[in-house]
Symmetry: C2
Subunit: 122 residues, 2 copies
Amino acid sequence: MAWTLDDSRPIYLQIEDLIKTNIIAGVYQPGQKLPSVRDLAAEAAVNPNTMQKALSELERSGLVYTQRTSGRFITEDVSKMTELKEQLAREQIQLFLKNMEQLGLSREDIRRLLEKEWKEES
Amino acid sequence: MAWTLDDSRPIYLQIEDLIKTNIIAGVYQPGQKLPSVRDLAAEAAVNPNTMQKALSELERSGLVYTQRTSGRFITEDVSKMTELKEQLAREQIQLFLKNMEQLGLSREDIRRLLEKEWKEES
DNA sequence: ATTATTGTATTAATAAAGTAATACAATAAT
DNA sequence: ATTATTGTATTACTTTATTAATACAATAAT
């Protein structure tokens, strides 16, 4: 795993994002056991508490769960994961639309701007 | 003006957003003089420095400008304002697309989800 | 020229966020 | 039963962000 951290944002947030992305991308498979907090912390060269914070945040989202003394695991409930992804997507969309409306943009404006952006990206 | 503030976010950010929204919505007209820092602060019942911070942040965006001792004004450069709006929109879009892609969603997925959201909103 | 009004700079105080050190608790492994 | 490994709680430290008090500087108004 890459653990490329900078000081632009809190460490624990960067870690959370990295792991979350890897889970969603399927790098970590459902049911797979994660390394221990201490091992992950060593790997990423951060304080164990920092890693702990990242992981417990991640847990709130339901992507991972803990079994008291045996460790942390990626949720094996695939439908839950799908559901979660959809919920995150919905939140993103609603925030986005709220911001765009605050700029006085109509639905048609938004459609047009998205297509334009995609066209420019190629 | 409404000045409804809560403690969910820093005061100066909430103020910044309120004023920005009003400018973009045309409540404040181009060229219009804003009340003085002290007056605005009294109106919103905040410390003058807090208002000052909100306003100087707003200034960085180019929506308002200062004339040393006569006060602050809404930019009368309408094309600049349009330009700024477009830039803000572009930033929002790029952030949004980045986040959606991180969720593994394709362009077609995004189109579909937006239309769905709009349909549900009515 | 003086005064009142404007924005700004400086500094301090307070609050919140982030990171770290250490001790605890539970249980799987032996 | 003992030990090693796991996550967690508690506490303290440090840094950053936010708010506030106060003094300064420039100029429009008189």
